[in-house]
């Protein structure tokens, strides 16, 4: 049996003078004619020109070569061009191999001899590699136009509503039992001092009534696979032991014998073991604290079940794992209040009547633990209140940055106090003031006029609190000591607790400060580091409500412009594949796949690649210790042949 020597058809491009002036094309032609495995097409002046393309196609049609080597520019320039031309005349794209004799030869030396020798080596390597190629198949799929929004604060709510307006299905995933985020815990929104519940209530009911939005609460995303236009998202929804039929009528609250510290009230008040966050929440359904509920603790109580007019209590409800698909993921997980526990000078937790801004806001909220009434621990009304700016911010043992929005919150304190106690003296102690836009600045001016006294310290980190005859004494560099009844610490904003975990799940980057990193700080500020994933609201860094909403709308606008119904996305052609007859099922490839494209079939003791998810990065191929995982078009055979071709040209 004689094996026919495969032949590669060589196209030499002069690239005008770009190649022909620096590489001896005649010598290459001469070498090619003697090589045995190469067939030479005429060299062309500009192979990528309309005329050159036609020449390329015609020659392919006429010669029907085994493989093709295009000796021209970088594959980054035109590999796709020639592959597509080849496909158009029924030659599989995998047989087209570029030899970069421009950037790698002509442009890197003045020595024509050297450039020519290197060109021959590259052409030979390309030809040898091409003989090992196996045909590739193009795959496309329709882009998925649905969206998953993670986090149901104001940013997440607005994102969901905008997307739903464009008829997109939206899954809004919130880890608490109802939507609202931080805004619902405040009374008024500065600088416009709009009432927060009044602002949110219609937005919440719009979400509830929108058939395009599926709200999934008490839930967290725990796995994401895929890429832009093609995500699969796994959501773990914890049981709340109350069915959706619950309308939040609160009949069960009255009968529940158990009081639980309320996280919603930042532990300043209590709620029952069966609870909602606030009246009118979305969803309306209550939930049960399993750890405290007597039914679960010792099976001694069924009171809520008996009291519920709708039969909504269900102690047997189970956690659910929900899988949804989407084209884009919007991260709206917000922020956490800056942690100041480690900053001893501020005596937070050690002295009574010292609160953070978040706690203070909760206290003065009409839906707060004291129904909005501001009083001291002893029940009396305060006469003088101090607000400490930058508490725990701009210092290495706290948040090393300025959050940019807390000065407005700090200035708001006086206004909220005067609303109910107009005669209280307010003094704000600061080192820096940040009111970065005209509206914020005029809000500040208003507060000064309304009576808030702003005191500048030389160093805000020097603030020291101490107890002084039932009052609190504050000293700081550059100011005279101040004695007050109540202190509000204006803390900064830090990344939400789940940011790190979520970044790992989504395989996206965080900034050094822990907030999600933008794809491009200026041009794509709401895009995460991976296509199809967006970051909005405080997830991308501290912002006020207005900017939280702006970023939400911006992200959805961008997502809509890409996730157009009917648009196809090309799937990766050069995926990895695992030979089931060779895979030992060691699972090591699963660990490293950055796109989670590999799963293990426990019955067959093998792993397999989901080709719709695989991006062809090749990580698993390098990982697979048994050689069962192969990268299409980058097989060992191709690479060894290429190296061999280089060495033995």
């Amino acid at each position: 049996m004689t094996v026919m020597q495969k032949k590669s058809l060589l196209f030499l491009c002069k690239c005008g003078a770009n190649i022909s002036n620096f590489v001896d094309l005649d010598r290459i032609a001469d070498w090619a004619s003697k090589a045995g495995h190469i067939d030479l097409a005429e060299s062309h002046n500009l192979l990528c020109s309309p005329d050159g393309k036609k020449f390329f196609q015609e020659t392919l049609k006429q010669k029907k070569p085994d493989t093709v080597v295009v000796a021209a520019c970088s594959p980054k320039m035109h590999e796709k061009t020639f592959q597509e031309l080849a496909e158009s005349v029924d030659v599989n794209m995998s047989y087209i191999q570029m030899a970069n004799i421009r950037e790698h030869c002509a442009w890197v030396t003045q020595d024509k001899n050297e450039a020519t020798i290197k060109s021959i080596e590259l052409i030979n390597a390309a030809a040898k590699r091409s003989f090992e190629a196996e045909p590739l198949k193009k795959m496309t799929m329709a882009v998925n136009t649905d969206m998953v929004v993670i986090g149901g604060g104001i940013a997440g709510i607005e994102a969901a509503l905008s997307a739903a307006k464009a008829d997109r299905k939206v899954y809004l995933v919130e880890k608490e039992i109802s939507l609202g985020g931080a805004v619902i815990k405040t009374e008024d929104i500065a600088p416009s001092m709009e009432c927060s519940p009044c602002l949110l209530a219609p937005r919440l009911s719009a979400v509830r009534n929108n058939p395009n939005i599926t709200v999934i609460t008490n839930a967290e995303v725990n796995e994401v696979k895929g890429f832009y236009g093609n995500f699969t998202v796994k959501i773990h929804k914890k049981a709340r032991y109350v069915e959706e039929s619950c309308i939040g009528c609160e009949s069960c609250f009255e009968v529940c014998p158990v009081d639980v510290k309320s996280a919603f009230h930042l532990n300043m008040g209590t709620e029952k073991a069966v609870y909602t966050l606030f009246p009118g929440s979305v969803p309306a359904a209550a939930a049960i604290h399993k750890e405290s509920c007597l039914h679960f603790v010792d099976n001694s109580c069924n009171a809520c079940m008996e009291a519920c007019p709708f039969g909504s209590i269900n102690f047997n409800q189970k956690d659910e794992d929900i899988e949804v698909t989407a084209g884009a993921i919007i991260i709206a997980t917000g922020f956490a209040a800056g942690d100041i526990a480690g900053i001893k000078n501020l005596k937070y937790g050690a002295i009574e009547n010292v609160y953070t801004t978040s706690e203070f806001e909760r206290m003065v909220c009409s839906n707060g633990p004291s129904k909005g009434e501001l009083k001291l621990k002893n029940g009396e009304k305060p006469e003088k209140i101090a607000v400490i700016h930058c508490a725990g911010s701009m210092r290495e043992d706290g948040l090393p940055y300025c959050s940019g929005i807390c000065c407005v919150e700090a200035a708001k304190v006086g206004m909220l106090v005067r609303k109910q106690l107009p005669d209280v003296q307010i003094v704000n102690i600061y080192q820096e003031l940040v009111f970065p836009n005209p509206r914020d600045f005029s809000f500040y001016k208003q507060q000064c006029e309304a009576g808030t006294h702003f005191l500048k310290s030389d160093n805000i980190s020097s603030v020291l609190l101490s107890e002084e005859k039932e009052r609190i004494r504050i000293t700081a560099l550059g100011i005279d000591p101040v004695e007050v009844d109540l202190v509000v610490l204006s803390t900064g904003l830090q990344p939400s607790e789940s940011a790190k975990k979520l970044a790992e799940i989504l395989n996206i980057d965080l900034e050094k400060d822990g907030f999600f990193k933008a794809d491009h700080a200026l041009l794509h500020a709401t895009g995460a580091s991976l296509d199809g994933i967006y970051i909005v609201g405080c997830a991308k860094g501290p912002v006020n409500v207005s900017d939280a909403v702006v970023t939400a709308h911006a992200a959805i606008g961008d997502a809509l412009s890409k996730l157009v119904p009917g648009r196809e996305i090309e799937l990766e052609i050069m995926t990895a594949c695992i030979d089931p007859d060779k895979c030992g099922g060691c699972k090591l490839c699963i660990t490293v796949c950055p796109y989670k494209a590999i799963s293990n079939n426990a019955d067959k003791h093998i792993s397999f690649v989901n080709e719709v998810i695989c991006r062809g990065c090749g990580t698993c191929v390098a990982q697979c210790p048994s050689g069962a995982a192969k990268a299409k078009h980058f097989t060992d055979n191709q690479i060894y042949a290429e190296i061999g071709g280089l060495i033995y040209a």
Binding site: C586, T591, V592, N600, Q623, C624
Partner: protein, 323 residues
Amino acid sequence: MAKPKIAFYWCASCGGCEEAIVDLAEQILPVVEAVDIVFWPCAMDFKTRDIEQMANGSIAVAFINGAVRTSEQEHMAKLMRQKSGLVVAFGSCAGLGGIPALANLTSRKKIFEASYHDCPSVFNPDGVEPKTEVVVDGHKLTLPTFYETVYKLDDVITVDYYLPGCPPTTDIIVNAINAILEGKLPPKGAVLSPDKSLCSSCKLNDTKPDQVCIGPIKRIIDIIADPEKCFLTQGLICMGPATRDGCGALCIQGNMPCTGCFGPTDSCRDQGGKMISSLGGILEGEDRDSLQKATKGLVDPSGTFYRYSMSASLLGSARKEGE
């Protein structure tokens, strides 16, 4: 019909492969019954000329164990090849270089220095070293040449089949002999053992999670290994993922991680390199410092990853000055 003739020969090996044949115990009886052993210098008294006098191709199968380190071994391998229909590389040394091939990390000169001069138990006041020729009382005595490099068998002759293992296990020897006797052999060049990695038959594989992340690498002497948990996940280097199946996970059953003696699978060109590449993906740590910490316990990388396959590795040997 005459019984098929079988020959055994050993090159650079420890004798374990010969032992493995003896270990067939009563299973060797039907073999002895069915064949005619015509050459087995380790066990019976044969001379080289016995083989030389045989007709070319008259031996049905020659089982050759050991790597090729001297000119005599090369000569004998070629002689066996000439006289035999089939040659089977028996064991890891013949197949991949084996333990002797770890010497490729050093040079002949250094080996001689260590063995004939520096080793504390050596008494050699005259500094004598082996020579290929020496005249004693007018008689010329010769010794084979000691090569600079240890070769695997197929570097010097064509090999038809490979029996992996250090040494091959009873089962795979018996299977191979039966396949030969029954004429049920796979295409030439095959390794006569399953072409999957050991994890595929290791009972501990189920304890390995989908996400494997190993902290500081440990040696088996550093910890008391948990016999119920995949060794790799315990931070021990188990070569199982990079090693051909077929041994029946013997070491694992003995609470020892796989050291890789069955060599790589067909699709893997460099067993050690593959394992190193794979470890890179599952080691804990991102930066230089943490990775250095994680690999601190890896005191002998070549001996760990290339214990049996140095001759078959892409590099093959250390670069030697002046060679």
